[in-house]
Symmetry: C2
Subunit: 219 residues, 2 copies
């Protein structure tokens, strides 16, 4: 179907489109993929020929319907495999991303149908990210970034924006995982840092931490 490189480009552009609005720039793609802009230009020209995205020189790109579908399919596979690794093979949530980066490229429709069933058709991966359905549709949930929560409000952790091992291990140390209740006791407007309560512990977190945690507030 599509090569490993093509799938990775489509996935990266899909993530960028969900994060920023409008056309995605060559440089943004290059940065997110840790590659050179000239390589990106080459590849997006090929993907444009295949109608997976629209491209006008110097104007950036935008995924077409089929481009989005391919990207969502890869992300679906990635997240299902992450669930498998955590739920069935007892991996820790900070260990699964690299392996899923490989597994997401295995080509077999039937495999994913059966893996999904075996896992009980999960809706979210171990980092709280939604798993696209077989048609590539991602259901959006209302979640807020912790840094946007006001003082004296509370929320439940429903996901992480970053999922690097370093960040996830920090959260482990602080006993924060998906489902953890977080109370915002104080908020410093100068640097965006917070005092929060998790369980019976109260501690300080930086803005960088707060902007990478998703929470749901109940109302």
């Amino acid at each position: 179907m599509f090569t490993l490189a093509e799938e990775n480009y489509l996935k990266a552009i899909f993530h960028l489109e969900n994060e920023f609005q409008g056309e995605i720039s060559t440089n943004a793609i290059a940065e997110s993929m840790e590659t050179k802009p000239s390589s990106v230009t080459d590849m997006i020209q090929k993907l444009a020929e295949k109608k997976l995205l629209t491209y006008k020189r110097y104007k950036g790109v935008q995924l077409t319907g089929s481009g989005k579908k391919v990207a969502a399919g890869v992300i679906r596979k990635h997240r299902l495999w992450e669930v498998f690794l955590v739920e069935k093979l007892s991996f820790h949530w900070d260990e699964v991303h690299e392996i899923a980066e490989q597994l997401e490229h295995i080509q077999s429709e039937e495999l994913i149908i059966r893996l999904d069933k075996f896992l009980g058709s999960p809706d979210f991966d171990p980092h709280g990210d939604p798993i696209p359905d077989k048609h590539g549709v991602l259901k959006r949930t209302e979640k807020k970034i912790l840094s946007e929560i006001d003082k004296n409000q509370k929320g439940v952790c429903v996901g992480v924006k970053e999922s690097s091992p370093e960040f996830l291990q920090y959260l482990d140390k602080k006993k924060i995982s998906i489902g953890t209740k977080i109370y915002v006791l104080g908020k410093e407007f100068f640097d965006g840092s917070m005092i929060i309560q998790v369980g019976s512990e109260q501690f300080f977190i930086s803005h960088k931490i707060a902007e990478n945690l998703y929470v749901q507030t109940q109302e």
Copy 2:
């Protein structure tokens, strides 16, 4: 570690060494991999540089210790994944080979340790082939090819030499699977065909079928 192409060459040569004695020829490798002899020459020269096999121009190749270890590792992964697909995802034994051809190249030591444990450290794959241990050691079992069994002898099917979907589907139709008892009621020396009994059914099989079935005789 090694590229997909390198792993596939090493695996093919490993299988050829187990089937034939002595050096393996360029043409034999090309045929088994469905590629051209000139491509094989290119690759074996690279693998010789990496000390994965020994090579003298025009004289064929032989895997070194480390070449064998890499190959056995790939085969271990292939067969463990086949067990996973059949035991956990309920695939049929004729559907798993192609998917395992992809999964065998996933690079993660820890993944295989955990997959093996999850599957209960199986000794054989769904086709009756032994799974190399983590050191690459393949335990040999005494098994015979059905075509070598004499008239009026019986055996238990313990494996298949071919594992193409076509052959496996033929066996299904005849209700032959791993563990099935087979009685040799008659044997035609002219063409090697046989009359066998499986359960309460008696039927004819050609030499081509008989030489692709492994059985164990009890004595």
